[in-house]
């Protein structure tokens, strides 16, 4: 793991059992940004669902690359997994989960890489 100023990069095997690392990293970075417990729980669910979509069907030797980018009161996470170029389909249950846990989310596929982008914003607690 390489830790920069506002960006954390993690590369893990594209297998379900390693998604914990993706979730825990998200929780750690979000905690640093002042997200509250509920928001972190949401984020963890959203990251898990998005990762699961892009790694589905991936062979054992494929990796999932994740970038956690800290913005102003928000955390953007991008994931890329080399897979055939079919746009990943999101199951209705996963869609429902994402709708309630993420502020923005999208998936894509091009040049033999499946990808996702996810944004979670922190609640403004200054009011």
């Amino acid at each position: 793991m390489d830790v920069g100023m506002d960006e954390v990069r993690v590369v893990i095997p594209a297998q379900a059992r390693f998604l914990r690392i993706a979730r825990l990293t998200a929780a750690g970075v979000a905690g640093d940004l002042g997200f509250d417990l509920r928001e972190i729980e949401d984020l963890r669910v959203a990251v898990d669902e998005m990762c699961a979509v892009v790694i589905e069907g991936a062979p054992d030797d494929v990796e999932l690359s994740l970038v956690y980018r800290a913005g102003d009161g928000e955390l953007e996470i991008e994931g890329r997994c080399p897979q055939d170029g079919v746009a990943p389909e999101i199951h209705p249950i996963a869609r429902e989960l994402l709708a309630m846990t993420a502020d923005e989310h999208e998936t894509g596929a091009s040049d033999g890489v499946r990808s996702f982008r996810l944004v979670k914003r922190r609640t403004d607690r200054s009011a």
Partner: protein, 281 residues
Amino acid sequence: MSPAEGGLSDDGAGAAGPAERFVEYRRTGDRALRNRLVEEHRHVGDYMVRRYARRGVPEDDLRQISLLAVIAAVERFDPSLGVSFSTFAGRTVEGELKRYLRDRTWMVRPPRRAQELHLELRRADEELTQRLGRSPTIAELASAVDDSEDHVLEALEAGVAHQATSLDQPVGGADEEPRPLAERVLVSVEPGFADVEARTIVADLLEDLDERDREVVRMRFFENLTQPEIAARLGVSQSYLSRIIRRILVDLRDRLSEQEREQEREEDRRVELGGEDSNPQ
């Protein structure tokens, strides 16, 4: 035949046997299978949502919590334990809903989940170390405290450094075993009610108090302030405060009894309706 296969109305849709599908999910982590299991069982969560929906909380919030809890139940369900998935999921959803309702009860920060879990983990670690003759694994700890491995890892990280005031922050004098603050209220209100469920019930009751009464309960039973200290803070006489406290406790007892009666009536209705989830044991 494993007990979990023993003729439960668990999920009629599962031609391959419900237990095997959960075992397969635990083994493979196959997301498509998880989604199917969740779809087939989310009605268990919906039932619990209806049960808790009348408490002035947005139903959408409860539905979200319920869905997440059904997913958590699918993740953690172990058919070899001999309870049906519906029973297990029902308890999981109910626990999460109660926790949510409890957290909303007070104007202070919600209880620190990780900190709360950290204390449970310390106890579980000691027990398991003794029993196993070695330090437990994360999976063993997670199973012992009935939580996810993610939460266990986080809670280990959390330590006990947090100072946020919460119902679950342990308190106690030098010569006392530390106990959660909320438990003290229970001991004061109703001796013998010392588990999380009872704490939640009390938290629900307290929610209906007006702001001043709730503040009085918080100071007296959660902060352990003396009556003279509280009287001074509120600017009332000690004897007046004493009457307030007595009235609050009587009121809480009455409403607790009423709530229990209501719950019994609800259980009766559920049995009459032939609830989908009769206990297999």
